[in-house]
Amino acid sequence: MDLSLESALSAPETGAAPSGTIAGRPVEEWNAAYAKVESYFHALRIRNKTLLGRLVILVLKRAMRRAPQEPQLSATELAAEEMDAVVTEWFGQVLQEAPEAAAHMLSTRGRLALLLADMPGKWQEQFLHPPPWPEEFIKAMREAYLRAGPDFQLAKMAPRPLDLGPIATLTNLSTLPFRKMIFVWLTLALLFVALFIITHNLGDFERVLNEFAIWVRNLFH
């Protein structure tokens, strides 16, 4: 928005101020506040530049009115708070809800309504506009509801036991640590025996067995 900030804000209520300051804050601070508020309205997809400028000024003027009473707050903080308040109040009016009660609920509902009513596409000029609003706009805003799922029709699914047959015996074995260990050792031993038989002639196998028997016999003599 290419408006001169000082001229735009030279409303009588801001009062006389030393050069380079507005409402007791340096102009740079108000520029930063301007940017922040403008960013938020951008985030709300306000693309109409004239409207955008007007809305930002509206918020800044409210912030400036508060500025003298709250010197501990920066212009940006004041503007951001006013921006939040202006938008929430307006949501309260449009949606006919009291802004004081759970403000974050109202704010969420309002923003969602803006989106679902397609404010950025169809109703930009109505945003933050005082009443009366077009009936169609009010209807679209008030009836906006994001339905993520149909009504629940809760049911309980229960897994049926699966009789695994002979495999169940094997899996039961695995739950017994000692048996499992013995089973693994036996399997390994059998595997080695099988490997040996496969990779040697039966004659060799007999020879090895004989040698082993002799070795065992010698061991005890």
Binding site: K36, E81, H104, G165, N201
Partner: protein
């Protein structure tokens, strides 16, 4: 009350054609007997030839191992060959015994029938899921039957970025299609039970509202008419519990993807017709692009955990096969609607992604060995399990076959004996030893290639399909090149699958780090990292065989070549530029490329636009959007509030820690230090709290800049002009 399969004889409105599959089991067993007997006869005959060859060169203990492995491996390829032959015959002479021919289902009305179309998703590409949904929705809208369907995006995403993007895009699509109250979104608080748990959760919440549900994958698309046909088929055949379509692979861009897509489109119709011959109403479920009767599914298909520990115990990973088997066990029929066109899915675009997917499937399929002997299951369901198991077990068996052969050769060479071939045991074999070996090799090649040749002949007789493939000549050239690629790819798959089987049996995981990709495909460095072992194996193995016996080396060369060339093969086939060059040359064309259906055309255009508009994003951009963007924040909070209406979700949120003061403290940390100071679980916790998220929105916009982390300044800066 359990959902019992309807008594056919008591329902006058039943299609009499279907009765024979229940009332006449002899006919079913005859089909099975004929099909598998022929495979068995072929296997036996060739195995005898092989045994004779082993006999001629002197029987050793390794000959026994080789023969056993040969029988198993040849048995598997002969079953594949039989699928091709039976499928070809059925397609040529007409197959009356398919679900779409068992009565005039198209005359059925689906008025008053409610069907849910569900998209279970888990950290998937959100844009692709939503655009697939959009294409399906728009197509269904054109049929005039959209009122009978509800769409559900069932998210299990644990990545906060995906979660927020899903909500955002869901809201966009609902608004754009004016589909509020028709397209729904639900994210589970915890993804217990993975995909089957996700579906179960949907059924527990809304299943009773719908007579049928159609399961989509994240990359599925279906034509509206096909969906309506599926519902009509279910209406026409009340004893059918599930109908599985055969999704066509589409939208591949890389060379690898296009080759796989081409092979699928060319060979699958013949193979599945063969599969349907013996499966009939005892078919299988592949997890998506299928319609399911809700009631019996809810009744019988909530899967128990298997006893024992991982990898076999615990949750059933490949739940689809088991669910089909359980339906069949309870006398519900499961069919393949293999001739219903308009069902699509996508495939991995490179060798490495393909292997990653195989790793997941491998564990699930091996786990079926526990269920294989489950009491009460139909014999045909066990065959489905067995085929799935051997789909992966065949690789280590093949590797063992090759190694045993090498071992036998080494033992023989070490003995310094010379080989003296004796005459064959069978007096009719009057061949030299070499000619005998060549004969077996030729038969093996025939068994492998006959289905491919039959698929080409089938194509030549079908004018419409022929045009879709760019003509018979191009299709033939494509099939030859595809066969060449497959012979290089097969040894790699052998190594990969063997590793998967071994690691799964040992209870070990396989670590896949994020892929390094270029705009055109896999990066060379990534290919080197994934394939250097394969190359080394090929080199060592090749040198060893060369030293052992030169002629044997040449026999092994095709196996070694795939491993040796794995790095360039992986990189080059992942290239989209080569994929499009092949397309320009008319190679590997598929009907969906030549004459794209409107659903896929729209999908492709929209996805291309999304790619272009993808801007460089702030790290943790999703957090920025969920907190700062007034609309994204409002959608997110509103969905969180709605979630609390479900008592189960409410309990899960409480269990997660939502509502505790610590969440607000984490929110302060997020504001003060930025998202990099939080873990993913902490981010998820914050985003799950319906009070903290709107509070963060206000704080991030209202607080002075100095009390916010720099990251927020950058994020807010994105909204400035």
């Amino acid at each position: 009350m359990p959902a019992a399969a309807p008594e056919l004889s008591s329902d006058a409105g039943q299609d009499p054609h279907l009765r024979k599959y229940v009332d006449r089991p002899i006919r079913r067993w005859l089909r099975l007997f004929v099909f598998f007997s022929l495979a068995l006869v072929l296997t036996s005959a060739v195995s005898m030839l092989f045994a004779d060859l082993l006999w001629r060169s002197g029987w050793t203990s390794s000959s026994t191992v080789l023969l056993i492995l040969f029988v198993i491996l040849f048995g598997l390829i002969s079953i594949g060959c039989m699928h091709g032959i039976f499928g070809f015959v059925l397609r040529t002479f007409g197959d009356p015994d398919r679900i779409t021919r068992l009565g005039d289902f198209r005359a059925k009305s689906i008025k008053g029938v409610s069907t849910a179309i569900i998209f279970p998703t888990y950290n998937e590409g959100v844009a692709r899921v939503m655009e697939g949904l959009r294409a399906t929705y728009v197509s269904l809208e054109r049929t005039g039957e959209i009122e009978r369907f509800d769409f559900f995006i069932l998210s299990d995403s644990t990545d906060p970025a995906k979660w927020v993007e899903e909500e955002q895009r869901w809201c966009e699509i609902v608004r754009e299609l004016d589909a509020l109250g028709r397209i729904y979104y639900r994210r589970r608080v915890s993804n217990e039970g993975k995909k089957s748990g996700n579906v179960r959760d949907f059924l527990s919440s809304w299943g009773r509202r719908y007579r049928y549900f159609i399961v989509f994958d994240a990359d599925s698309v279906m034509r509206g008419e096909t969906i309506v046909d599926l519902v009509k088929l279910m209406e026409a055949h009340p004893q059918v519990g599930l109908i599985q379509t055969v999704p066509a692979l589409v939208n591949a861009e890389s060379l690898f993807g296009r080759i796989q897509q081409f092979a699928n489109r060319l060979y699958a119709p013949v193979f599945i017709a063969g599969l349907n011959f013996w499966a009939q109403g005892f078919g299988n479920y592949w997890g998506h692009n299928a319609i399911i009767r809700t009631d019996p599914f809810m009744q019988y298909c909530d899967l128990p955990h298997l006893p024992g520990r991982k990898p076999f115990g615990g949750q059933i990973l490949s739940h689809d096969f088991v669910e089909a088997a359980l339906l069949v066990k309870e006398n519900w029929q499961v069919w393949f609607a293999y001739d219903l066109e308009g069902s699509y899915e996508e495939i991995p675009q490179d060798l490495i992604s393909n292997a990653q997917r195989d790793r997941r499937w491998c564990q699930g399929n091996l786990q079926h060995s526990l269920v294989l002997f489950g009491r009460g299951l139909a014999g045909i369901s066990r065959i489905h399990f067995l085929m799935g198991i051997f789909g992966y077990l065949a690789s280590p068996l093949w590797l063992l076959f090759l190694l045993t052969f090498n071992w036998a050769l080494w033992t023989f060479k070490r003995s310094n004996l010379s080989i003296i071939t004796v005459t064959a045991l069978n007096p009719f074999i009057k061949l030299s030893g070499t000619a005998h070996a060549l004969l077996i090799f030729a038969i093996c090649m025939c068994v492998l290639f006959v289905p491919k040749i039959l698929a080409l002949i089938d194509l030549a007789f079908d004018r419409e399909r022929r045009l879709g493939f760019g003509g018979v000549q191009r299709a033939t050239l494509g099939a030859v090149l595809e066969t060449g690629f497959s012979s290089l790819h097969a040894p790699l798959q052998m190594l990969w699958h063997s590793k998967f089987v071994a690691t799964i049996l040992l209870g070990m995981g396989v670590h896949w780090s994020a892929q390094k990709r270029t705009a055109d495909g896999i990066a060379w460095s990534e290919a080197f990292r994934q394939h250097w072992v394969h190359t080394v194996i090929a080199l060592v193995w090749g040198v060893a065989i060369w030293k052992l016996d030169h002629p044997t080396f040449w026999w092994f060369l095709p196996v070694l070549a795939g491993m040796l060339l794995s790095i360039p093969l992986s990189v080059l086939t992942s290239r989209t530029s080569l994929g499009s060059r092949a397309r320009n040359l008319g190679l590997f064309l598929t009907p969906e490329e030549t004459l794209p259906p409107s659903e896929l055309d729209t999908l492709r255009v929209r996805m291309a636009l999304q790619e272009k508009s993808r801007a460089s994003q702030l790290p943790d951009a999703s957090i920025a959007e969920a907190v700062l963007d007034p609309y994204v924040n409002a959608i997110h909070v509103s969905l969180l509030r709605e979630k609390q209406l479900n008592p189960e979700y409410r309990d899960a949120l409480i269990k997660l820690g939502v509502g505790r003061p610590e969440v607000r403290q984490l929110g302060e940390k997020l504001l003060g230090q930025g998202p990099e100071a939080l873990s993913t679980a902490e981010k998820v916790l914050i985003l799950s709290d319906a009070d903290v998220v709107p509070w963060l929105h206000r704080q991030a916009w209202v607080r002075p800049s100095k009390s916010l982390a720099d990251w927020w300044q950058t994020a807010i800066g994105k909204y400035a002009r």
